[in-house]
Symmetry: C2
Subunit: 557 residues, 2 copies
């Protein structure tokens, strides 16, 4: 079993072992050149540009930096630094040796990064091109599928393939099946055939079946890739931007029972299996203009909090699997939070940086939505659940808001209030394409309208509960008991059933490629990963490469 | 482990042990009164109106008969024949003792029956009312959720509940989670709370949270139920119909390696893990009118084939889990198939029986779509893949159509042809709301239009392949080898991975409550069922009722 050392998600190009990021005006090139000996944990070699979580952590970092540190980049060429192989997908030995929870968590993160690539293409005007200068198999092809356009070298040997089913007895679990039929519109019977042929498909047939957009002879490869990249860059809708915002290393203190950043902190209570996460609002009023925001750079409150939350979610998800409940609190001045939001949203359509920060919030909140932890928001006096921070409470499975004040603490405190803001009305949609308010009030237009109409007004507990913005509003006398029961109860339930419950309830409403990947595809893959036919001693994952055939229980379930 | 005896799905009211079906003019009452000692297999008692597959087989039969044998019925009251309890859901001892494949198959069938109840309400003008004269918990409440309206007796003790998560460590797996938020629009945080409270919710709170539509004091119970049933019946859009079509016992020969009906037969090859299913077209031309159809009754080809296919799918799914591939063939005259379709579709809007037969085809084809077997259609000379029978090929994961003829068999035969008919253009949608042609050509309006435009013209292999209606069109020389490889390959793959692959590729396009139930919810439930936290020796399913607490691995996955 691969040992699960503490995983750190903070990195930077200077530390990369597996990727080379270079730019040439509006075109960046992200070249995958995996260090075989650079696995995150011992026990496997990353041959043929296969990847593990460590490789993907660098990719995620590069995708993020391209947005903030490279405002001039409008097209990103994703290619391989190796000959004949683009990428062989997730490393099989790593998968075979990993615990189930590690496999599932790894797939989730890689999926989020690929969705982030599509988000950059769709919303940030950074268009990704997959330049497959060699075979892209399994997760390698799935990485290509996340790009706007796929070019494959036509050399009679390079192909695209999804060999997971025939070779490993599992699914292509990084969005491949969904993107093949729902994004690229490959016909389902051809997709079926393709996904059972481990040898893959290249050349004109790959184009005819819509598996790739174009095949290019090797002699014209560089020329055509440059041309396509220039074309993409010239038509990309990236807002004029700059100067670059450097994402220097996030300051973070990690102790055994706490994680502390500048504005976000978490205290971990292992006995009760709960993390209490506190987000602190801005310590000063919002800057007057985006020019001032640029001057603050990565220290700007909204950007800093997004980075901190993002890192915290990844850290706890990966390193603290037994902490099953996350309790969110906020502390600060709600009007300041709203003013920060307002500055960004007023400039969303015209200012590159404003847009990037809002999009980063959107992605971070989506990461929370697909996190397999129970989320509870506690709304107390002194909190600032407003606008972007109110989204934390709306993302929660349940929220508790104190009616009145804690008499023993401060009988003169102002009661807790929540405030709907512009940030709740559109710019931060969930994966299902709806706002969290729309999902909350699905099929109830009247309640939705009432909640939206309240925008700008601080709502105390009674009103917030009446509008359906919080779940429960106990008073001082009941608060401790109700909250305690909620948290303890959660710890007493089956963690698997909670994961399934939350995955179903959080995504009411329409489905998209994204929700299908996290709902339908991921759930099937989790099941398949867990079955002995894949992961048992004679399962396909363990048999791979040993010369032995997998021994399947042939029952169809 | 519950032994898996051969399960027979054919039954009739005279044989029911668990349900009483009665009618009073336009109102039918379906009273659940489960015989504790009437379990399908030994090893558990069906206390508190809990159910197993046998109970649900009777329910399915009753729902079907209400459509065909009771054209006068416009409202169906689903209630309990016991005091104080409506239904306690699926029997826990049965679940705890069952093999994983049995649990999954059981859930699938119960889901299909509940979807059929919704289909009757939506499309057949038979509106179902849940009259909860006692507590409805778990699957009992999920049965109510499939009804158009839920009434709960207000007696201070009767509640609705989903106690699966807190008591059993699994999900409500029969559509409950999906219907709570996506159909009834219960707010997701309230739904979360509700699904963690094993004691359930009744009275006004149940109405306020939208869990039920109405609570009724016991003194007014009969009166209000009658009134609501009459109201539903009077506003139901059931087409005027009659006389009743009796569904007498389907003639069926079941041998170890074959299943034979009048028009459908299957030969089972256990070594190759394949069933070859042959559907024979009409032996005569279509009747001139629906009056003639009525005279033929259940012997009418379209109705008979639907019944036979339906029973065969259920039989093979349940009793032949190691037969992983179903190969579909047809034999007969395509123009007759089209004429039968045409008669039904011309009368779909005005004639009760025509509509019922078409709806039955729709449901049967949907059953095929969610069947966890690889489906392959073989289109050969003498076949009649046209209209409703072409849907079998369009439902398949892959189809092979012979180019030319089998020279050795009959060199003068007419080459195989497929014909798109009206039945392929709308009346038989999949669970995703699209036709199989629309799903096939998702995002490719041009190909869809070309295929639809071909309606009425028999297409030989070259043209059918060009239009994308078949996957491959090998000639006589390649046919045997290609088909053999396809079938043998399928048997060599992981059955789990195939199930996941097919579940993802078959449902490209939009999602609905129905596809969410079979895709998202079911996949999570399959995973949860399989995990030791539910089904292991110390898991919650096994611990239930023993007084011991389940011992959970607390890792969140």
């Amino acid at each position: 079993m691969v040992s699960m050392a503490h995983v750190e998600f903070r990195t930077s190009p200077a530390k990369y072992r597996h990727w080379r990021l270079s730019t040439d005006g509006p075109v960046a090139t992200l070249a995958m050149d995996v260090d075989e000996q650079g696995g995150l944990v011992p026990g496997y070699e990353l041959k043929l540009n296969s990847y593990d979580l460590g490789v993907d952590i660098e990719l995620y970092d590069a995708v993020q930096r391209l947005r903030f540190e490279h405002p001039e980049v409008k097209a990103v060429v994703m290619t391989s630094g190796k000959e004949k192989i683009f990428c062989a997908g997730a490393n099989i030995r790593m998968l075979a040796a990993s615990a189930h929870s590690w496999k599932v968590n790894f797939c989730k993160f890689t999926n989020e990064t690929r969705n982030g690539i599509e988000d950059a293409t769709a919303n940030s005007g950074q268009v990704y091109l997959a330049a497959l200068n060699g075979t892209a198999s399994g997760g390698g092809y799935e990485l290509a599928l996340a790009c706007d356009r796929i070019l494959l070298v036509d050399d009679r040997s390079s192909v695209v393939s999804l060999p997971e089913l025939p070779l490993l007895g599992v699914l292509p679990g990084t969005g491949g099946l969904t993107r093949v039929v729902d994004k690229r519109h490959v016909r389902r019977d051809l997709a079926d055939y393709f996904s059972t042929k481990s040898e893959g498909i290249g050349g004109k047939k790959a184009v005819g079946w819509k598996l790739v957009d174009e095949v290019v002879p090797r002699v014209r490869w560089q020329e055509v890739i440059s041309e396509r990249a220039r074309d993409s860059a010239s038509s990309a809708a990236r807002l004029p931007g700059g100067p670059a915002i450097a994402l220097t290393e996030l300051a973070k203190e990690r102790a055994d029972d706490s994680v502390t950043y500048a504005h976000v902190s978490a205290s971990l209570d292992r006995d009760r299996a709960v993390a209490e996460i506190t987000v602190t609002g801005p310590s000063a009023g919002a800057p007057a203009s985006m020019a001032d925001v640029r001057a603050e750079g990565q220290a700007f409150w909204s950007l800093a909090v997004a980075r901190e939350l993002d890192d915290l979610i990844l850290d706890l998800r990966t390193n603290e699997t037994e902490i099953g409940t996350w309790v969110f609190k906020t502390v600060g001045d709600a009007s300041r939070v709203l003013a920060y939001d307002e500055l960004l949203l007023a400039n969303y359509e015209s200012d590159w940086l404003a847009r990037e920060i809002v999009l980063y919030w959107k992605r971070t909140l989506k990461r929370l939505d697909v996190t397999s932890r129970s989320l509870i928001a506690l709304i107390e006096p002194g909190s600032c659940f407003a606008g972007s921070l109110l989204e934390l409470a709306l993302a929660a499975d349940r929220s508790y808001m104190l009616f009145g004040v804690f008499e023993d603490v401060n009988a003169d405190a102002a009661p807790a209030a929540v405030t709907v803001g512009q940030a709740n009305l559109g710019p931060l949609p969930m994966g299902n394409g709806l706002t969290r308010l729309q999902t909350r009030f699905l099929g109830d237009a009247e309640s939705l309208a009432a909640a939206e109409k309240s925008a700008g007004s601080p709502l105390e507990a009674e009103e917030a509960e009446k509008l359906g913005l919080v779940t429960f509003a106990p008073d001082d006398i009941d608060w401790d008991e109700e909250v305690r029961i909620a948290v303890e109860e959660r710890a007493s339930f089956s963690p698997d059933a909670l994961t399934g419950l939350e995955a179903n309830y959080r995504f009411a409403g329409p489905e998209t490629v994204e929700t299908k990947i996290f709902g339908r595809l991921t759930a099937w893959q989790n099941w398949i990963f867990y079955r002995p036919n894949a992961s048992g001693p004679d399962g396909a994952l363990r048999a791979y490469g040993t010369g032995k055939r997998a021994d399947f229980d042939r029952k169809r379930v």
